[in-house]
Symmetry: D5
Subunit: 95 residues, 10 copies
Amino acid sequence: MAEYLVQMQVNIPPEMPPERLEELRAREKRRGLQLRTEGTIQRVWRVPGRVANIGYWQAPDATVLHEKISSLPMFPWLDVTVTALAQHYLEAEDR
Amino acid sequence: MAEYLVQMQVNIPPEMPPERLEELRAREKRRGLQLRTEGTIQRVWRVPGRVANIGYWQAPDATVLHEKISSLPMFPWLDVTVTALAQHYLEAEDR
Amino acid sequence: MAEYLVQMQVNIPPEMPPERLEELRAREKRRGLQLRTEGTIQRVWRVPGRVANIGYWQAPDATVLHEKISSLPMFPWLDVTVTALAQHYLEAEDR
Amino acid sequence: MAEYLVQMQVNIPPEMPPERLEELRAREKRRGLQLRTEGTIQRVWRVPGRVANIGYWQAPDATVLHEKISSLPMFPWLDVTVTALAQHYLEAEDR
Amino acid sequence: MAEYLVQMQVNIPPEMPPERLEELRAREKRRGLQLRTEGTIQRVWRVPGRVANIGYWQAPDATVLHEKISSLPMFPWLDVTVTALAQHYLEAEDR
Amino acid sequence: MAEYLVQMQVNIPPEMPPERLEELRAREKRRGLQLRTEGTIQRVWRVPGRVANIGYWQAPDATVLHEKISSLPMFPWLDVTVTALAQHYLEAEDR
Amino acid sequence: MAEYLVQMQVNIPPEMPPERLEELRAREKRRGLQLRTEGTIQRVWRVPGRVANIGYWQAPDATVLHEKISSLPMFPWLDVTVTALAQHYLEAEDR
Amino acid sequence: MAEYLVQMQVNIPPEMPPERLEELRAREKRRGLQLRTEGTIQRVWRVPGRVANIGYWQAPDATVLHEKISSLPMFPWLDVTVTALAQHYLEAEDR
Amino acid sequence: MAEYLVQMQVNIPPEMPPERLEELRAREKRRGLQLRTEGTIQRVWRVPGRVANIGYWQAPDATVLHEKISSLPMFPWLDVTVTALAQHYLEAEDR
Amino acid sequence: MAEYLVQMQVNIPPEMPPERLEELRAREKRRGLQLRTEGTIQRVWRVPGRVANIGYWQAPDATVLHEKISSLPMFPWLDVTVTALAQHYLEAEDR
């Protein structure tokens, strides 16, 4: 599995109607949990003070990674930066 | 208590109706005073010429800090940067 | 334990004598393995193409985190950026 | 007293001889404590992972502030950013 | 008097109705002339090619400076950067 | 094979002795041709006006990619940026 | 043929009506395939996580290149960066 | 005559009605040709892939330059950067 | 007279021998006072915390301005940014 | 002929021995005049306050352009940015 650092900034406009936002959030959470359960999202943290997160993702390749990220219901409002990760020697022994 | 530098830029659109802005400001001030009274916001300064501020905040951890920041009524319009702060040796003696 | 994303760029000058570099690397690896074994460095990845890494660190607070990072023998040559991490709701359930 | 946010990055070259570095650090600490005792440096925090700090300083004006900062023995190696601070309305009441 | 370099970028949306723009400009000019007459704006230049200006302002402190800047009718559309200025030795003699 | 855009800026100091530079360039070219022949470097272009290049590389994963890049004799002087590439739909048909 | 690296970020607003977006995408794909068939777009990759792509284009000169890029139906929403490419010595032999 | 490099990025919103855009473009072209004929715009090039241009302008001073630039009908949508140009010694002989 | 904002950052290496630095400073001051007396440097302020200054300069044109700036003994160590200034309407009346 | 905007920043270290600098400058001028005479450098201006220039160059393609730029004796100390230029419609008529 290829490894990636995925940083997401969510840019939902403040004037989005609350019901629509709530529905969007519910769908986002559902899809997020699926990606987490299936192991695509290995870890994810919130960036404090922002509607943003940093995640450690795994996918067979960058094409599948893109499909997974763009399957998020909030994708049209996301600003995403992907960094390919290589193995560090400190982890070489134990894997 | 963990310590943080919290920098906030407020991006309220100029075309927001004045009554809504006033009401939003009133709620923001109320919540801000609560955070200040309870000690979450230890100090806060305005950046001159901008609708922006720099604060020295305390919270048990980054998760609670995020809850506090996102409890501000203006949160959807804020651009916030959080910097974790460590103890400086000049302050080690007197604390 | 507080959680941090720690990004490190190593700026060793190319003209450092090879024996000194080797000795420095050996000490860096030894200290790195200690930090990894004790759980300070939870995960660490290499940024491909660069002498740089991205790590997920844990420490009681930012003061201890700084002590740990600055205990690395290569610290005088490091350019380090620390981001405090908060809990993401996708992980709230399972922890 | 005028108020300032003072951010300092210390760029001592790693190849400085240890005795010189130690002597420089000792003098820096002495001068730093003076500035802290006299109330010029009101608060100061270390930026974790970096030889850098963020301080809340007070001085009669920017000319005196510059004299105070440039009186630090490490000044030739410092990269300093000063931000003038204004009073925030959350603090207006209690001062 | 404290001294400041004040840089202003005016971001009026091109679709603002002409009468409103004209009225806003008239009020801006009136307030600008007051600030210039009273000596808050000592000098001001236009940045060629932009709706932007660079000014040399004087105010008792940053709090008053902020009040003066935010009293401009165009303030909600301004992006302002303030730099505190200290005395330069070339001017020390003649002041 | 995973695909990457690899951008390299070469920062050889101008004062490197000419013979050393020549020898370094000869070794760099030899290793570059190997990487090109084996298919790691699929395409490479020079950025005009700079000692810099942009390449389209293929490798099984980011760990091998890093090994290949760091096998270049000029690696200690390189500033490299790697971008993981995914398949574009315009190429989906013909591969 | 002159060679160019063309990087495109697509900034379609999330609130565009789905039918319009679909029709725009269909036309974009049609024009993209023409440019690819005629050899203007030699290669193109998607930047994972973004509605963005990186392409290797060929055109007689920058004027024709601009005509080709601006013939894309999505051009009004594109943020495009063009880099002129020169021949690298590793490719000099085999062309 | 003073000399300037004038870089312009045109930010017309994609949703501007076509007739209005056409009319705006016609007026822009007319004014542009006047500035070119009178010698204010000495040379102008398009930045490929962008609605942007780079020009070499002449004007008696920066105040007149600003009047000329702001006389363009598209001025409210322009993001302009002006660089003052001095004579280069390679041109000193032949002027 | 053309008007310019001239921002200077002085990058003297900390390891310059003190006598050489002193001699350089003495010559810099002498030349600076000449430029100030002759009216080229109209005003100049120190940026607090930095060896940097912001000046309001006047010169017949950018070519002469460059000659004046490069006549400063510290010129080889300066990082200078020049902004051409145009007349602001608030000053149009009184000049 | 392809057209390019070529921006050059010259980074000669201040401590280069004066005779070497003079000799380098003499050779640079000689080569610059050749490039100007042969029409590669069509126009060139100095950026006031900096050892930098902006030029309008012509070359058959980016590969030849790179050869011309790198033939300058100061090339190892140059930081060069090349922008490909396309024809602007204001110049289409008269060429």
